[in-house]
């Protein structure tokens, strides 16, 4: 029996992705007017409310915003790992190299995960399964996406651990997650994402749980690897300094809406939306859950019952009467950037 026959008997359809016609010329990832809702007891929460962006090879897109603004939900929608229900993708398109992932059959789409788009989570201790060795958890990817045997998978796992700079990888491969330090665990997460050399990595607050010195090491590893493999990276972080360092362009989210999109230098020097401006003035810390930001009074709106007009108007220092009635669309701003504020010119020049 050939290996591929054995593999298909194990329910692995290795060739699944080869039957999909990806458009090599299309952008790596296009998210178009994405809407995600949660059905809760208190009503429908619009966690993501019309987010669009494009990601190209080797590019890093940063997503910024307060806690609860829908960053992780956006990431999980792209991965296709939202819990449905309570979540529901209520609209929009997610195109990977021109192919609509939403229309793909689940058994094909699961190969997109890890093969094409991989994800790194915030808290590696809880994101790794406590009862299996890291080698097993890495090897599993090879065993379920390729025809690798157990021993081949394990050998690959050792290589990966080596690649992300874990000393004595041969021995460590048999250790359990809780036996690693925080930084090392996050390296394991990165290794896991890299296993099948995906085209896109989504890193959701990859360094938040780590010490400052370790944060820098892990971030450096991640961006080095991104350069080496020319991957697209979507980086979600509250750390504005890291963001400025790593990101090429930035999407600022507020209460499920994309409120500003621009080149990193433009945003950091001349924000075109009052919310981005407030965020930048709140440096260094914007990651305190449920607490007010230094430069923006008040808290984000309740998602089941957002205010009419511009969702930001209750907290906005630029707000006028118009803002309470009409919701601003995402206006084009010179310099290939966009802002969801009627008065962006005023904001830029302030």
């Amino acid at each position: 029996m050939s290996e591929s026959v054995i593999a298909s008997q194990r329910g692995i359809d290795v060739a699944a992705l080869q039957r999909v016609h990806f458009d090599r010329d299309a952008p790596l990832l296009e998210v178009d007017d994405l809407h995600v809702e949660f059905h809760t007891r208190d009503g429908t929460a619009k966690a993501v409310n019309g987010v669009s962006f494009t990601l190209h090879e080797g590019e890093t897109l940063g997503i910024l915003g307060e806690s609860g603004c829908g960053k992780s939900v956006t990431a999980q929608a792209i991965m296709g790992i939202l819990d449905i229900p309570p979540a529901r993708v209520a609209g929009g398109k997610i195109l990977f190299r021109g192919v609509d992932l939403q229309k793909m059959e689940e058994k094909t789409r699961r190969h997109i995960r890890a093969n094409k788009i991989a994800m790194i989570f915030q808290d590696a201790l809880s994101a790794l399964n406590p009862v299996f060795t890291v080698g097993w958890q890495l090897g599993e990817i090879y065993r379920k996406h390729t025809e690798a045997s157990r021993s081949q998978a394990k050998a690959k796992a050792v290589e990966l651990l080596d690649l992300v700079g874990i000393p004595a990888a041969k021995e460590r491969v048999n250790s359990f997650p809780h036996q690693f330090s925080g930084g090392m665990r996050q390296r394991v997460m990165i290794a896991m994402a890299l296993a099948l050399e995906p085209d896109i990595i989504i890193a959701d607050e990859p360094t938040t749980a780590l010490d400052v010195t370790v944060q820098a090491q892990v971030m450096k590893l991640l961006s080095d690897l991104q350069q080496d493999y020319r991957m697209g990276l979507i980086l979600i972080t509250h750390d504005m300094a890291v963001m400025a360092d790593v990101a090429d362009k930035i999407c600022v989210m507020y209460a499920g809406n994309a409120v500003e999109q621009a080149d990193v230098h433009q945003i950091y020097s001349r924000p075109a939306h009052p919310y981005s401006k407030g965020l930048l003035e709140s440096i260094p810390r914007v990651d305190m859950k449920g607490q007010e930001l230094a430069a923006i009074k008040g808290l984000p709106p309740v998602l089941v019952d957002p205010p009419p007009g511009c969702p930001f108007h209750p907290r906005c220092t630029f707000a006028r009467e118009r803002c309470q009635e009409e919701k601003p669309e995402l206006y084009d701003v010179p310099g290939d950037r966009r802002s969801a504020c009627f008065f962006w010119e005023e904001v830029i020049s302030s």
Binding site: G11, M79, K107, R113, F121, A127, P130, H178, M192
Partner: protein, 335 residues
Amino acid sequence: MGRYLIRRLLQFIPVLLGALFLLHYMTVVGIQISGDPVRALFGDNPPPESVLAAMRADYGLDNPCLDRRFDPCVAMFVERLGQYATGDFGIDLRQGRPITEHLGERFPTTMRLALIAVVFETVLGIALGVLAGLRKDRFVDNLVRASTVLLIAFPVFIIGTLIQVYVGVKLGNWIRGQDSMPDWFGQMFTVTYSADYPWLSLILPGLVLGAFSLAAIARLTRTSVIENLRADYVRTAKAKGMPGTRVVGVHTLRNSLIPVVTYIGFDIGNLMAGAVVTEGIFGVPGIGQFVFQGTQNKDAGIVVGTVTILVLVYLIFNLVVDLLYAVLDPRIRYD
């Protein structure tokens, strides 16, 4: 693992001694309050005092500390420990045979009964719990939740007597009356234990015995599956592109079973108590029935000796389960 093992063993010794002392203390306080059990054995027409005194001496009940209320009788306890160490758990008060001899004869029957109960409760309990957990708040889940609460409200002796009447007698008689049914089939719905069918006639008592724990296991599994489905590592498994069956079957289930295993250790205590009732009702000649008869005949020798052994078995079993727990959960093993 080694360190965990040693620590667990070190904890085991005081608990073991403490539990044995507690049993001893209960016994002596009972005697100090109610008078000695030899007397109680004969009810209204006791033999002459000289005979009683001789019997008391035989059973070591002539110790003066037994006359002082709430005296812990430590010397007696130490002496008892010595006897336990040599495998002497006393004799029954009527025939004067060693308890261990009785238990040796009765052990295989009880083992068969326990096996049926454990297989039934774990297999069905885990299956129902997983099903309900995966379909949370849907029809199956509501059904499992409602029926398990109901089952928990039924004490074993009530399930036992009701099943005996309605399944054993009513349904059983009807089945045994059908010519088309094979003889062995009717034995599965038996009213009492029959030595000719050492397994089949234990099926009904086994289901009765496992009923409460079935409900408990189903509920614990359900809760634990629901908790684990929300766990970050389950999301990671999805993000790694694992098929849905594997996300549930490997990543969720493995972790969900850890609390269930701890419960099963604790459950052995339930099963022992339940066996007293179940074997009593169905006339199963096992260890439970022995205790049942002991309580009915007020034979303190049987009750104290057997319960002591059962407690030892319970403690040792729990030790084993704790070690198994460490095998299942590496966080404990490598602590």
